[in-house]
């Protein structure tokens, strides 16, 4: 059974169709990359999967449960990491983690061991009893990561995972994602970093103007783009209709 099953998902903002009949599925143990240019509908899709936006049409099934009919069960099984850290700045890091754990009814024993592990891993242990407002952007992002990773849900939905992270933390995150996938957990990942997508994702979907342009592994993408030995950047530019950018870039290089 697929962990995430999105069928015919549509969302309009007034007359503008932000997401247009998008269908996709994510299997257990899979890291699924979700790419697209700015304004393509990635964040809108992600927000619908996380239960933040109500779709106009279509359905979302998480671990076999309908998000529309059983939102509480679906949210219990989904960990969402937004691109900007959502935090309560007047709580300390530890208080924030305790609050989040209480929302998901995390057991005391598991909370203790998981938080200790991740706080140490992300170098946040010495800061856990300080107010979040004193954290840097990267520390806040790592705290959000900790609040989600400590729960070990079957599905992680992540919008731009590496924003604000230092190279060490970025490396750690990538390894954690890989390890989670090996343990059978699924990750739905939106990113602008094609290197990360290429390195981590088993399958990649590209969305443009609200429509899913293509979905598949690197071979499928190469085949579709007609570029047999190309990297993801070339494929992405080809499939998103931005290939002409290459010419502009060469013109700029020539000028300089």
């Amino acid at each position: 059974m697929n962990i995430l099953e999105v069928t015919d998902l549509t969302k309009r903002f007034g007359k503008y169709k932000a997401v247009d009949h998008v269908s996709l599925s994510v299997q257990p143990g899979e890291i699924y990359g979700f790419l697209g240019p700015n304004g393509a509908g990635k964040t809108t899709t992600i927000k619908m999967i996380a239960g933040l936006l109500k779709p106009d049409k279509g359905s979302i099934l998480i671990n076999g449960h309908s998000l529309a009919d059983q939102p509480t069960i679906c949210k219990q099984e989904t960990g969402y990491i937004p691109d900007r850290p959502w935090l309560y700045e007047k709580l300390t890091g530890m208080e924030f983690l305790q609050f989040i754990a209480s929302l998901y009814s995390l057991e005391k024993k598991r909370f203790s061991s998981s938080t200790q592990y991740f706080l140490k891993l992300f170098d946040l242990h010495d800061w856990k009893d300080h107010l979040i407002e004193s954290y840097s952007h990267g520390m806040q992002q790592k705290l959000i990561m900790t609040s989600v990773l400590m729960q070990e849900q079957p599905l992680l939905v992540i919008d731009e995972p590496m924003v604000g992270l230092d190279p060490k933390s970025a490396r750690l995150i990538k390894e954690i994602f890989k390890q989670r996938a090996q343990a059978g957990k699924s990750i739905f990942l939106s990113t602008h970093s094609l290197e990360i997508a290429e390195e981590l994702c088993h399958r990649i979907a590209i969305i443009t103007e609200g429509k899913l342009r293509i979905s598949g592994d690197m071979e499928t993408l190469r085949h579709e783009a007609g570029k047999k030995s190309s990297g993801l950047e070339d494929i992405f530019l080809q499939l998103t209709g931005a290939w002409e950018m290459k010419e502009i870039i060469s013109a700029i290089r020539d000028q300089s």
């Binding site: 933040l52 969402y80 959502w86 935090l87 309560y88 007047k90 208080e95 609050f99």
Partner: protein, 551 residues
Amino acid sequence: MSRLFQPFFCSFRNRFFPAGRISSRTFVILCFGVVLFIALYLVSLQTIIYFHSQNELGIILSLKIFQMSWALVFTMLIFSTMVSGVSALFLSNDNEIIFSSPASPKEMYLMRYLSISLYTSWMMIVFSLPVFGAFGHIFKAGPTYLLFMVPAVICIAAMATGIGLLVTILLVNLFPARRTKDIVVYLSLLFGILLYLVIRLLRPEELADPERFPDFIDYLSSLSTPATPFLPSSWASNLLTGYLQDHSIDWLLCGLLVVTPLVIYYAGEWVMARLFFTGYSKAQESFGGYRRFKDRDYSPSTMRWFFRKELKMFIRDSSQWSQLFLIGALVVVYLYNFKVLPLEQTLIPADAVANIIAYANIGLTGFIVASLCTRFVFPSIGAEGSGFGLLLTSPLSLKRYVLYKYLFYALPFTILTLILLVASNYLLQIKGPMWWISVITGLIITWSVVAMAIGFGAVYADFKAENQAAVLGGFGAILFLFTALAYELITILIVSIPAYRLVRSWRWDMHFTGSIVVQTTGVILLILVTACLTTLISLKKGIENAGKNFN
């Protein structure tokens, strides 16, 4: 006009005049404002007519109230400027963009001065005009009075903003860096004490009681003494009092009113150019990182942690709880007034008057509760900010979220209502049915109004507001306040008939007839049903709308 003023101007235009024309929402706000303006004018007119009709002292008494109003407006404006000045000048998000640009401190000061003036004084200006205008009507001052009164209000507001900003810049520089954010606490404490002293020193109850003075001449002179010439508010009140009485104009006062705001403005600009950077630099150092908090054990109870989160966020945000000093001062002044009420000097028996006051006190307590709900409960959902996203994506249902919010705020408001009602009933020496009527009705009103504040707060939640205090002047907050007051008024009117009959029977022979019992039971059921419906509908609306404004 300063280029820095453009974001403020554009946000204002986009909010109230989207697509270049007046929106239906703006139209409703305008109509609402006009109705309120007229209502204030009529109420002021009736109050001043009442004073005038008393006796020959009426005119002097009403002019004394005129002077007091100016002093109150001026003090309130200085305080609100100082409170919003700390966040607007030193903690604003746009400081990073503006201060890193080549814009001069002079330009920044002009932008902050204008925007803070508009934010803090527009309501005071708009709503003081009908009150002061009513004096002109009663004294038959003619339209020329308006030519002096309107600019005087604007000049007083400009001076108050100038003084508020000047003091704020100086204070931030005087305090150690890590206390910058706590300045608001000290300001509130200061203002609470000041308000208490001003009201107690003015002793308004003595103005209505000539017998407290050794002789009539003393009383007359205490009333007719012009306000102190050292306060700018007195320049305005003395200038207009002269015009109201005999159409005389003191041009020196006119000059002072026009020139002083400019002097204060340039003094503020001078101080800004020299001290702003030091203060701003300090403000950035003070972001809480210096302190370590105690770690507590985790227990997986959502409700307990929800309450703990709400409490911690409230306690650690000094701009929130510092206003409790103000509330404390108001409660003391409020209760003190019951102590000094001259009940024995009235023509009707003292216990009857006490019962009438106790009944009116239900409404006054309700008004305080509604006002405090507007300040604390209404913005509480929007105050979650981006953190609300965490709640929406968590398994916590909106139903439980709204219920927890309601329970969290219902408890302190229940305690406040009980303190206000039980203490004032004790001071009034109320016994018998009125004690129970006031406490039960007061509690029912409080529980419903808290639910209404949650419901309206969810519908009009602004998760992106930089300063939740700014939300208070918004359409949703005003709509909530007036709906809550209308609900309170209806409930008190429903209670009035059985309250009157119960108290009358109790005072006469302590015997209640069958019809009184039936009527009282019916009315209790009616207000209970109304309260339950109001609470349920408000909370349901809250649940339906809580997530709609997020994103």
